[in-house]
């Protein structure tokens, strides 16, 4: 049954990296499209817009970290791996996998709104960044949940 436990953990790790990565890819793309539209008129805003575009990119990194932590755990636990360990690691990956996927996309929607706000009022880009970062709180909580569950 050793293989099963390992396989379960690795499926979880793969899901964490893949789903959160997909969310971030979609999110960064959404932000990029909006920023490119604004920059066709105001190229000088590049510095402010690139930050807003990059914000939904962090979820992918969180998923990646959880995947790395799970893999480290799996290699460390070759000797005794009851099936329960496999399931535990699998479920530990789910918070960042699911919340990463969804929150990156919703954060991107917020980022697009903030990009449009910055286009009209470049001075308020800091507030736009702050409002966009609020969405990320839940991705961070999910990351912490995953890390604590991996143990």
């Amino acid at each position: 049954m050793e293989l099963t436990a390992q396989a379960l953990a690795i499926i979880g790790a793969a899901l964490a990296a893949a789903l959160a990565g997909i969310g971030s890819a979609i999110g960064v793309q959404m932000g990029g499209k909006a920023a490119a539209g604004v920059m066709s008129e105001k190229p000088e805003l590049f510095g402010k817009l690139i930050i807003l575009q990059a914000l939904p990119g962090t979820q992918g990194m969180y998923g990646f970290i959880v995947a790395i932590l799970v893999l480290a755990k799996v290699t460390a636990m070759t000797d005794l791996t009851p099936v329960t360990d496999g399931w535990r690691l699998f479920f530990a990956c789910l918070p960042i996998a699911l919340v990463g996927l969804v929150s990156a996309i919703f954060q991107a929607k917020m980022a697009v709104a903030a990009i449009h706000m910055t286009a009209k009022q470049p001075a308020s880009s800091g507030r736009g960044i702050t409002m966009t970062v609020l969405v990320e709180t839940y991705a961070i909580l999910a990351l912490l949940a995953s890390i604590l569950l991996i143990g």
């Binding site: 990194m61 970290i65 790395i68 507030r127 970062v133 709180t137 961070i140 912490l144």
Partner: protein, 639 residues
């Protein structure tokens, strides 16, 4: 700290108005107010239009600027004496007009070239046509038709021509077929042409001319060559002008400055003008000097801000704190009456930023990189402040890197002595430290609230709105921590914590609703205020992001080292192959880490810290000043 303001009222004779405004603008210490309904502002449209024209010309000139003549630092912001800056030199406007004329010539000739090229494309297939184009048509019982025959249909057309007795002559090939002349007998013109068209002959025409096509082409080519010469001449001229671009830059900055001055609100009376504005108390001497330099006859009166008047906010801090003002200003400018949050905030921002990055190597790179950028970019204003924030934060990044034993993602064995933990292994410990630092940060916010209450002489608020919360949160922490971490005397701490928390909660319930007279309503709103404890717990949990980001930075750094390590192997040359991976990997991690630390540290200040005390309803102190975009003005010795 926030600088005190005084309101200045200045009256001078009408004829001294320009001199006064110029002197005020040069000193840059007075923020003019639109004081009464009688005050007049000119619109400065002429100057703004001139500024727009100079901007456009400067953009044009950058294209022609000699690439080989590298711009030195001095060229970028040339220094100009004040006298030169304010003196209008007609030669500058002549140059501007010359640039605009040369540009217009280039644009017109290029458009002309394009239409010439289009015509040539159309004519080229007919180069060998012997007829002058105005003689195509009926000719001694024969009609000549010009047309294009697609290559695929050439044989069909030839066959039909043979059967109906028409003569075909093929010329050069055009884009959509072969240029062809068909000669048909006058009487059979209509029917023959119908047959030919059916076979694929597409009739066209050429612009009628008294010369052969060859002659026309030669003439147009000559025209093209002449245009090219003229364009080259105009571009050479532009290159010369680009060498004198300082004149245009001067003109631009002068025009913008003049527009600013024209828009200044001034109240005229019969023989005097009256100006009102805000001045910082530490710049009163400069104001006096500026006015005296413009005229000997003036009246200057200074007032404290009246009740209900809100002066603009100017902050003055030491070099370190000044840089962090950009973070606060991004959120909201401090109100005039409140305590400046920047000195306290800057310390916390500095520490939290370093904790999130936490790598000795990255810290050193940050200090060097941003110091270099500050020197290289000639940064001014907010950009300069932000670069400085990042440079200073490099120091704390290196400091926390020492504590976490992290050097470009790797740990060094013998440096264990100075390190306190490893984020990857001691996750729970770091979580505890993060939340603990969060509690301290929030206590600082509550302390700032107390300071503000003290300034408003609301001593009850210090006790009920700041001290009580500190009691409650301390008590809850004392209650909670021993149940997670076991240590000697933990039980006693927890028991004491219970009473501390109860004391805090009691004060909140009894005094938070002190504004209402009705005792029931008072307790009710006290209980509701106590419910705010959930908000505080949420705020404290929010500091777990410090752990998350420190962990992210550490793990990605380690992964990059692993990847590079796989390539490196054991061979001595492995390091060469691995070097690009080390480099790209750590640059990526550094950039992403900077972005995350910047936004999340800001967030902790804005949402968790500033909500405790900060009002932030101020507006910027923006004095009438010289507007410089391209040049530096050096004042001459006298002032």
């Amino acid at each position: 700290m926030i600088v005190k303001m005084k309101k200045a009222q200045i009256a001078v004779l009408s004829e001294d108005r320009e001199a006064l405004l110029e002197a005020l603008q040069r000193s840059g210490v007075l923020m003019l107010l639109k004081s009464s309904d009688d005050s007049v502002q000119e619109d400065g449209a002429d100057e703004e239009q001139l500024a727009a024209r100079t901007e456009k010309s400067l953009r044009l000139l950058t294209k022609y600027h000699d690439k080989e003549q590298k711009e030195t630092e001095a060229d970028k912001f040339p220094s100009v004496p004040y006298e030169t800056f304010v003196t209008d030199d007609p030669a500058h406007r002549v140059l501007l007009e010359a640039i605009e004329a040369a540009d217009e010539t280039i644009v017109r000739l290029k458009a002309d070239d394009q239409s010439l090229k289009n015509e040539l494309d159309m004519l080229r297939p007919w180069t060998d046509l012997e007829l002058a184009t105005d003689r195509v048509g009926k000719n001694r019982g024969v009609v000549y038709h010009l047309g294009i025959v697609p290559v695929a249909k050439q044989e069909d057309v030839q066959t039909i021509a043979a059967t109906i007795g028409a003569a075909l002559q093929f010329y050069g090939s055009a884009a959509d077929g072969i240029a062809t002349v068909a000669a048909v007998i006058l009487e059979e013109d209509v029917s023959s042409m119908d047959a030919l068209r059916l076979a694929g002959f597409l009739e066209t025409s050429l612009p009628p001319a008294a010369q052969t096509v060859k002659e026309t082409i030669l003439a147009k080519e000559a025209q093209l060559r002449e245009n090219a010469d003229r364009i080259r001449a105009a571009e050479a001229q532009m290159k010369d002008y680009a060498g004198a671009k300082l004149s245009i830059e001067l003109l631009n900055d002068r025009a913008v400055t003049a527009a600013e001055r024209k828009k200044a609100p001034v109240t005229p009376t019969a023989s005097t003008v009256f100006i009102e504005g805000w001045v910082r108390v530490d710049q009163l001497d400069e104001l006096d000097k500026a006015i005296a330099s413009a005229t000997a006859i003036y009246e200057l009166e200074l007032f404290d801000p009246a009740k209900g008047e809100i002066p603009p906010t100017a902050v003055k801090n030491n070099k370190f704190v000044t840089a962090f003002e950009t973070i606060t200003d991004m959120f909201a400018r401090p109100s005039y009456g409140e305590v400046d949050p920047n000195p306290v905030m800057s310390f916390w921002y500095w520490m939290l930023f370093g904790m999130m990055m936490a790598d000795f190597g990255y810290g050193v790179v940050m200090v060097l990189l941003f110091a270099f950028l500050i020197k290289k970019m000639h940064a001014k204003g907010e950009t300069l402040k932000l670069l400085k924030v990042l440079m200073y934060s490099g120091v704390t990044t290196a400091f926390w890197g020492l504590l976490f034993n992290s050097y470009f993602g790797a740990s060094i064995g013998f440096m264990d002595r100075v390190s306190i933990l490893n984020p990857v292994d001691d996750t729970m410990l770091l979580l505890g430290i993060s939340l603990g630092i969060g509690v301290l940060h929030i206590f600082t916010g509550l302390f700032m609230r107390a300071v503000n209450s003290f300034r408003h002489k609301d001593y009850m608020a210090i006790f009920a709105d700041s001290f009580a919360w500190i009691l409650l949160i301390s008590g809850l922490s004392m209650l909670l921590v021993p149940s997670i971490v076991v240590f000697a005397g933990g039980a006693a701490v927890a028991a004491a914590g219970k009473w501390v928390a109860i004391a805090g909660a009691a004060i909140i319930v009894l005094f938070a609703g002190r504004s209402s007279k009705n005792p029931v309503a008072r307790i009710g709103s006290g209980l509701y205020a106590l419910y705010g404890v959930t908000g505080y717990l949420g705020d404290i949990m929010s500091y777990s992001r410090v752990l998350a980001l420190a962990l992210t930075s550490a793990i990605i750094g380690q992964v990059m080292n692993q990847l590079a390590g796989m390539v490196q192997g054991d061979a001595w040359w492995g390091i060469l192959a691995a070097l690009p991976i080390y480099l790209i990997g750590h640059i990526f991690n550094l950039v992403m880490g900077l972005l995350s630390a910047y936004v999340h540290t800001s967030r902790l200040q804005f949402i968790e810290f500033y909500t405790k005390f900060y009002e932030g309803a101020g507006y910027e102190f923006r004095p009438l000043a010289i507007q410089l975009k391209y040049i530096d003005v050096v004042s001459d010795a006298k002032n």
